[in-house]
Structure formats: structure tokens, C-alpha cells
Symmetry: D2
Subunit: 346 residues, 4 copies
């Protein structure tokens, strides 16, 4: 049995980790860390867990935790993991960080976009960017995995094959993304009240959202050169789901089959990436509750652009599901264990 500890277990991503790990046959959750709810029954915070989880919330002492578990998930605000991690912890346990602390290789870029000082730059080099479909082999050997952001997972996987194969001009990429509200977390902010979000829609973080450099870095590796792109997130009145609509100029005349082959080259063997049939576009509902990424594309011969679309459940493939997938790789488990979830409809 893999013994797991979760720091930040009472946020939405943390709670989703609990849901998924409870269905994993080789994992035992030993630590429900939540600074705000110490000593409170976890199932009093998440009543869906009533009679399922009997544990109480514990503090976020990462050092103490490292002695007791094989893997620590940090589903915590930016800066927390970097401020706590050290060599001793990493020598005892594996760490999967769901925050952005170790996602960006250039510490200046991190500090510039996140407006905080990085407390553990010495581990940035070692950390593996945990996008399993792309970095599978490195993840297997990692002690520290930087679990990708929700928007970034969806955006990168949607564009990756065409960037990698040079079918599109990377400097023309524009990603217009839409997200459900669980991505905003469980903090009590007036902006996220039901009456403010429901029957409403808006862009936010325009030309300044912090997932931008993460997408640029990863797609830059695929392109073999630095790139800049536009990324605009939008808030949509639903709980779960991200839909990314990406636009780019094709560098040559290609037909459907050519582009399709490129997608298949990278994703045909990938269980969690489903490239849909022609003319079937991704819908967030079709992946809800599951670890799938649904992808498709459309060539527009009039403008010589391709429109690429991807959909995920932001709490699963965009957070907790991908974290479990990374854990499975790191511990030699079947990559899909605990993740054989049929999307729930309606």
C-alpha cells in the first residue's frame, strides 16, 4: 500500500484527490492536512464523505508528514510548497506539488508573474513537469513533480502535436479558454458568490494570467524555440470543466487527414487523450468527473488557420486526476489505476 498525505485536503482540488485516492486499490490516505480545520472531522467539512472518511483534519507539518508517508500531495496556495520543502523531506518521500512553485524553470519568470519570491530555487532543476503524456519517462524517476495547472494541461495537450510537428506558426497561437468556477477555489470571496457567477460570463486576467508563461514554456520546448502567445481565461457559470479554443496559422496547406495523423501520432496510444471523430467537437460535460482530455480540430481554408479545441475536467485531469496519474507512474503502478472513471452524464 502506498501511504499518502495530502496538505490542503479541504480545498476543491484536495477534496477531489481524496475522492480519487479512495477508489485507488493500492493507496491509503494517512493525513488529511488542513490548517483551517485542524481537529475537525474531514466529513464535517465535506459531507459527501460522511461514513466514508472518519479521520480528522491535521496540520500542514510537512516534515512530520514525511516520516509517515510515501507520497505527499501539496494542494496549497503558491509559495507554500517551496517554503516547506527540503532535502530531508525529499530523501524520505516523494512530493507532488499541485501549486505552480516548481512548474517554471526560470525562477525570474516565476517571480515576475506570481509576485512572490521563490524560497527553494535549488529544487527547480530537479522537479519534473508532470504532464504524463509528454514527460512520462522523467516522471517515473522523479522525487518532485510539478503538477501542471488546469488551463495549461488543457491548452498544451490541445496544441502540442501541431507545434511539435511544425504544422503551425507558434507565434500566431491564441488560446481562448473558458472555465467552470471550481477553479477559483473554496475561499469566501464575493466575486465567486452564486448570484455573481450564475447567468454571467466574463474574461479575466486578460494578457496577464499566470498560466501564460507555463504554456509558453512547454509549447516552446515542443517548438524548439521560445514563443509568446495570447491566453485569455473566462469564467463560466458551471462547477467543473475547461474548454480551450486555440487558433493558429498553418504554415502549409494541409488537409484533415494530415492533421489527424499528427494528432494520432502522439495520442493514439494515450488512454486519457481522446481525439474525437471528425466534426465532433469537445464538450466539457463529456469528460466530467473523468481524467480524459477530449480534443479535436477544424481547418479553416478561408483564413488558413486551424482551430484546435480541448476539454477537461479541471479538478481531475486539470488537478487531482493528473496528480494520481503522476503518482502511479512514480510508484510503478498501472498508470490508470484509480482513474478508470466513466464521465458522468448528465
Amino acid at each position: 500500500m502506498i501511504k499518502a498525505g495530502i496538505i490542503g485536503a479541504t480545498g476543491y482540488a484536495g477534496a477531489e484527490l481524496v475522492r480519487l485516492l479512495l477508489g485507488h486499490k493500492n493507496v491509503e490516505i494517512k493525513w488529511y492536512g488542513s490548517r483551517s480545520y485542524i481537529d475537525k472531522k474531514y466529513s464535517d467539512v465535506y459531507q459527501n464523505m460522511f461514513e466514508i472518511v472518519e479521520d480528522k483534519c491535521l496540520d500542514d507539518n510537512m516534515e512530520a508528514l514525511a516520516d509517515q508517508v510515501d507520497v505527499i500531495f501539496t494542494a496549497t496556495p503558491q509559495g507554500f510548497c517551496a517554503s516547506m520543502i527540503n532535502e530531508e523531506i525529499l530523501s524520505k518521500t516523494k512530493v507532488i506539488d499541485l501549486s505552480a512553485d516548481f512548474r517554471i524553470k526560470d525562477v525570474r519568470t516565476y517571480e515576475q508573474w506570481y509576485k512572490i519570491q521563490h524560497k527553494a530555487p535549488q529544487f527547480i532543476g530537479e522537479a519534473v513537469y508532470g504532464l504524463c503524456e509528454i514527460n512520462r519517462e522523467q516522471v517515473k524517476k522523479a522525487r518532485l513533480v510539478a503538477n501542471p495547472g488546469c488551463y495549461t494541461t488543457c491548452s498544451i495537450l490541445t496544441c502540442y502535436p501541431l507545434v511539435k510537428e511544425g504544422l503551425i506558426d507558434p507565434d500566431t497561437i491564441i488560446i481562448d479558454a473558458k472555465s467552470g468556477t471550481s477553479g477559483a477555489g473554496r475561499g469566501a470571496k464575493a466575486d465567486n458568490l452564486f448570484c455573481e457567477v450564475n447567468e454571467n460570463m466574463k474574461a479575466y486576467g486578460v494578457a496577464s494570467h499566470r498560466h501564460t508563461p507555463e504554456i509558453e514554456e512547454q509549447l516552446g520546448y515542443a517548438a524548439g524555440k521560445q514563443l509568446t502567445l495570447n491566453f485569455t481565461p473566462h469564467l463560466v457559470p458551471m462547477n467543473r470543466g475547461i474548454l480551450a479554443t486555440a487558433y493558429a496559422s498553418l504554415v502549409k496547406d494541409v488537409d484533415y487527414e494530415t492533421v489527424r495523423e499528427v494528432y494520432d501520432k502522439y495520442y493514439k496510444e494515450e488512454k486519457f487523450v481522446r481525439v474525437l471523430d471528425q466534426e465532433m467537437y469537445p464538450q466539457t460535460k463529456w469528460v466530467e468527473g473523468s481524467n480524459y482530455v477530449d480534443i479535436n480540430f477544424k481547418i479553416d481554408p478561408r483564413t488558413k488557420r486551424v482551430i484546435m479545441m480541448g476539454a477537461i475536467d479541471n479538478l481531475v485531469k486539470g488537478a487531482a486526476g493528473q496528480a494520481v496519474q503522476n503518482m502511479n507512474l512514480m510508484f510503478g503502478e498501472d498508470e490508470a489505476e484509480g482513474l478508470n472513471l466513466v464521465p458522468m452524464f448528465p
Copy 2:
């Protein structure tokens, strides 16, 4: 492996059966019956099943199906199962009918509320009302199970212990129930369009809803005498979930502990019934996607009434989940196999 066939596999309840049976380790779905979509890929109708189900839809020939499977689920409109079933089918296979055809013992009551003639009254006596928590032993031996309605499952389980133990006057029971819209099915009716349902709420079937006699019959068995009650369903803008709020006059002065003990007497050992802690009231979200019924109550000393509340996912405990639970009992499987689902939140 239990071989299963589903007639009506492309309705919402049918699709939920598919989702649940795919997660059952001893079941193989052999037949996706759907008159409207014959020869169409099932995953073209329910795109969440893409790359999960490769089968095509078949017709609804129950006789042919009986030769091939161990159990048939009929998730079909009222009257279908009764018009198809016969002794030969029942001699070859077990049948779990999700419609109302075999729920009501008095055929005249059925015909009066459903406005159709019953085509197979000879099987009504044999059919077992598949509310597992109450009729477990009979279900185990049944060939034909009448799977309870969604409102009725929630209403009966919420009130049953207090009726059975004579704590309330059964003729004072009033059940005010609220349901998400998936209970209305996938038929293309203007009344169920997004813009008609969203940001709206209404009562319907007032004093005339067809689940009324089903609730009355089952609670009547518990009371040991016939009873009449008021049942009012309401449509609420959400996909899944039923909340029943039931009112009844207490026949004697009782305190919290006494009533709690009565609930515990019937449900303490029941995995799928969760009687919540005092002052924690059921919320539909806390059971979404799962087979749980969450129940609680409040005594009002001012009016000498008790308010009982229950919540289910109408597609799981209210339909497909209960059907799987019945199947498990009928085939000697672990009653919870395929149903160990943690409710999804948010």
C-alpha cells in the same frame, strides 16, 4: 460474468446503468437496446462513452435478448415491459424493470393512475418491489423485480421507520419533493428546454402525480393499513438530485434520541442509507453520482410535527444504482459491487 442486456439504453437512466455496469467487475453488457438509434454507435449517442463502449445500438427484442443474457434491464416507458414479458423470457433470464409496470399490486390502481391497460397482470403477484433496504430477502429470490421510482425511493426511505414504528399518524403525511430535470428524460419537449427550466421553479402533477399510489402502497404496508397522503413534486434547475421534505404529526411526545433510535434500528447497518448527525440536513450535492440516501429529521415541539428530509441522486439510488443493487442481490454478488462510488463534489 453476469451477461446483461439493457432495453432503453439511450435514455438517461439507461445511460447511467451503462456507466455503473462498466464499473462492475462481474458484469458484461451484451446488448445496448435502443429503438430510436438502431445500428448507431452507442458512443455517438453518449459521447462520454467514446473509446469506452464500441458497441452499436440494437433493437428492443426482449425474446431474442433473453437467449443471450442473464439479466435484462428495461429502462423503458410505462407499458413496454408488461407488453413484452412472458413466462418463456422469465424462465431464461431475470428481469429488472425500471418502469412502473410491476410496482403496484392492485392492477386497477395502476390502470387508473397510468391511464393504460396492463398487458401482463399475471406477473404482478410474482414481481418483487425492489427497495433493497426493505425487501432484501424477497429480492434475492426474485425472477422479476419492479425497480422503485425515483421520488418513491426517496420518499419511502425517508418516512419508513417512523411509519413502521407508529411514531407518526400516517394520515397526516405530506411529502413535498423537489427534483432535478434529468428525471424528465431525454425526450425533446419544449418544457424541458434549458431556457424554460433554468432560473425557474414550479410544482407539477399536483395531487395527481403517479408516484403517489406507489408511496401510499409501500408506506401502507409499513403502517399495517391503507393510507392516503399528499405528494407534490417540483421541478428545480439542476441536472440530478431529489430532495423530499416530509411532514407528519407525532402521535406522542418524543425527543430527538427516541426518533434517532428508530432510524438507527432500520438503517444503522445499511451501507447506502446515511442518517446524518443532528442539525445536518441532507443536500442533494452530497450524494451526487452515488447510491446513497441521506436522511435526517427535526422535531417541531410547537406544532408537534416531525419534519423528515431525504436526498438521493435520482439517476443512481432513484434508478440505475438501485437496479444494480437489486441485480447484485439476485445474483448473490456483494450488494455494493459497482456501487462503491464516492459522491462527487462540487
Copy 3:
């Protein structure tokens, strides 16, 4: 021009008052009071008012305000109005209090249900309960109007005629009410976050909600004797709208026409009360954005009960609209001025 001041202008009810008063041809808003947003532009708090309202928020100094306006609306938490009001204020200006401070005549009942000490009991006697359809003449002469609660407006108007005419046994009344989330206000509470409310439903304040004594008092006047009843509010995932479903035992055999006549007796001439055609049940959407109350009923001969249903927009007839209606009566305006709003659909 009537000069109006609003204290609590940045809550949802306050903002709705602004919306309505802006459409009133004889009113000028002179004071947007909001302690939390002093000196901030009102349209920065409510961006829908951009280029419509240029004023800044002011404090909640009721004495200063009384010198400048003809009417003060207090859309403030319980206790505020009672703590501020005095004879001098009332000698200069009329006050319409949207809180509960002056709704309940028995100060002990108020203090018991609201758990606060009443700071101005000397004005309780004078205050008029501003349910215009019932207390029209008193409202016209009032200096201080207690604007009814949202649930209470809907509940009382739905039941009033049958109670008044003695058709139902008042001690059998059970009111099961459902509300959209704007009734919970704009405070940043985790319970009211989008992801907590959306796709969810629950009862709350069971047998203890503070609108209960208000309903009991007013229906008690109609019955000519004290009564106790059950009132259960529920939270529903929509912005606006209350639906009350009320149950009561009929004291004699009556048919549809008899009950209908009783409703017509009280409401036929009432512009804002619409008793619907037979078998058409109220839907909250049909009154959204307007001051209407839609009402209907159904007799259940099986249980000898009548089911009464009413729907309002909680922010209009349940708060700001009714306040404007009261103001119109108090100032001799056309009662419907500013309230000729066609419900918005969808």
C-alpha cells in the same frame, strides 16, 4: 419630486431599489448609503449602473439624511433601523424599513426569534405592516412602514383568502417554501459560493426560520385567533424567485368554483396579484423582475386538503418592489408607478 435616501444601497435589495426608483417618474435618489463603500462610486460596486448613476456611496447617518429627503429606505441588517430611528427623524421624513425590526408586534417574540434586543420598542405600535394588498389604508397614513419579508409576502398572500374566509383549519397549515440565492445577500460566505449552491438543494432553518412568527402573526389576524404552523425554507440554485407550496385541511366540502371565488373576492381588483387559470401553476420565471404574485390552488378530494401555491420575485414583491408600492401609497402616488414591469422571460 419625492426625494429618497437608501441606507444599505449596496446589498441586493438596496440595488434593486435603485433599479426600480430610477424608473419612477416622481422620485429622485439623493443618498446612496453604504457603510462598506463610502466614497466609492456606486457604479463601481454595481457595474450595471455604469453611466446611469454617477453618485458616490455615503455613510448611514440617518439623522443627517432625514434633513434631506422625504423618505428613507433602510435595507439593512436586523437591528439597524431600530437602533437609529427616533421621533425627530420620523417628524421629518417617512421611513420604510426592509428589515424585520418593526414587523412583529410582540417585542418578546421578536427578541426570541432574532436573538437581539429591540432598541426602539416604542415605535412598534405605530409601525404599519406594509403588505399593501391587506393593509392599504393604514399604509397610506403611516410614517413608519415595516416592509414584509420575502418568504412571508409570498406565504401570506398565498394563504390569506382561505384563512380569512374560514375555508381551512389554520392549525393544519404547512408551508414548504423554496428560494433563489439572492435572498441570502451579498456577504462573502463560503456557503453561498457558486460551487456550493449550484447543482444543489437543501432545507435550512427547519422549524426555526425567523419568518415563521411573522407569517403566524399575519395569518392569525386573518383567522381571528393565534395559530402555529410549519414553515420550511429551501435554497435552490437560481438567482431570484420564491415558490411557496402550502398545504391545509379544508373544513368543509368545497369545489373549485367556491375556492376560486374566495380568491377573487380578495384579489380580483389587485393589480399585482394574479390568480392563474385553473390547472396553471405558478412558476417563478413568470414573475421575474416584476412585482407580481402569481397564485393558484388545487383541491385534493382524496385527502380533503387544498394545496395553495404562490410565486414572487423575492427582490421585487419580496423586497424592493413592495417598498416602492408602499412609498407610492404613503405619498399619494399611483400605487403602480415605477412598477409597471413586464416579467422578463427567459
Copy 4:
């Protein structure tokens, strides 16, 4: 009094026309045309109109109607208006067509995108494209106005000033638009059922939506040359509201003030276009129920693009409100009469 007739009065746009015209002080609706509901009370189809509209639905005989009214609104499917209109009708009455029949000047483009033959090409030249802010003077003199599409109104007004002033390269324009579901109409299609739309999001009509050539034509006039662009609509789970996020490359280095001045040049005097304060981005909720277009922009110096955003209520400025605005211009009324609507929040 302007006598108005509506053909297609029972669709969502038709019903919104009714709502708005009922609030217009100089209009009388003489004809509620609805082929599907002939002889049915209009308020039985739209129960919000109960006791407000007493008329019955009439047929769609445009010739008969032309004798009785001063203006006909056709809120009908594509092809209807073109198939009915003739010189005699236009000699008697003005026509405002909410369909696409007369929006596109090149009949071949119309026939290619709409897949139907145009029945009255002789009136295309005369028809005025009724985007009031741009074509105000022509509208005033028109007999036949082509009321713009919902997506197009929002998209064109959002981009117009920057295209017109040559600040952006028109061939780089990409418009990613998101719409509530009322745009899909009231037809009973399974795709628009509550359970299919709710908690879901998708792109549709990718690189093929029929509003594309309309946007291209109008922005082409502004650019002074033909252009092609990408337009991708998305369906979002809300009733009303369109948000357009448009991207384009800047042709020179400009700062915030420069771009802002360009917007102000065109919109400062426009009552219904609100260019928001810096860093305040449009939200659909802030315009709901009103005729406003809220617009803002953000320059991205990293990619040298500008992101332009616009929000409307698709049924008001995107359909019925704009139609009333056109009518006001055509009849010499105050342009805002009947449209002084404060957006409703929440």
C-alpha cells in the same frame, strides 16, 4: 400611436419585442402573429403576460397585416420575410426583419452560407443594415431594415473603431464568442434540453457559422476592403448574454490612451455603448435585460495584439431592443424610447 405587428411573436425574440413594446409609450401592438399557436391566447404561450396581454395569436399573413399597421417586425426563420415581402407591402408599411434575409448585400454569399434561395433579391439593395450606431442616418429613411444578428452586433461594435481607424490589421482578427442558450430559440430540440446544456460548454459551427460573412461584410466597409476572419461561437449554460473576445494584431505601437480615444471618438455620444473604465472588463450580467453594449480592450505589449471585449443581452441589443431602436429612428421617435432599461442584477 405607432401600430405594430409582430410575425413570429411566440419565439424568444418575438416575446422580447412584446415585452419592450409594451413599455413604449407610443406603440400599440395590433397583431401577435404565430402560425403554431393561431387562436391561442398569447398569455397562454407566455404566462408572464397573463393579465397584461389579452390578445390571441393570429396567422402570419403579411399582406393583411400591412393594411393594419405602421410597422411589421418579422421575427421569423431565414427565408420567411424574403418569401412574403413585396412592393405593395412596403408601400403601406415599414418592415424590420430580424432574420438574416436582407443583411448581406451579395445574394450569392447569402445563398451559399444559408443554403436557401433568396426569394426577393430585388429588395436587398434598398434594405438598410440596422446597426443604429453606424448607420443611423440611413435607418431614419428606410422602408426595410435588416436587423443585425446577435453575435454580429456584439462582434462588430466591439471591433469597429479600431478597424475603421486602421489601428489593427483586419486580416488578423479572430473573434471567439460565447452565447447563452436563448439564441438557440424555443424549438424542441434534444440538444437544447436543460440536461444537455447545463454544466456544459462547447464550440459549434466552427469555421462555418452563418454570422461570419455578416461580420466580415460590415467590418470590411469599415476597413475599406474585403477581409476574412475567424469567428467561433460557443454555447454556455445561461439564458441570456453574449460575450465576444476579439483578438487582432496592432499595426503600430499604441498606448492605452490612444486606443481609448478611438473608442471614444465613435461611442462617447452613444447612449447604448458603454466603454468601461480601464481594467474593468465586460460581464454579460451587467447588461442583462437592457439595450447596452459594454466594451473594453487590453493591449498586450508582449504579442503586440489588442484584446477587445464586448457584452450584450442577445435578446435585447442582439435582437428585439435593436429592432425597437431602429423603429424609433424610422418613426422619428426618441431613439431610446422604450429602451430606458436598467440592467437587472443579479
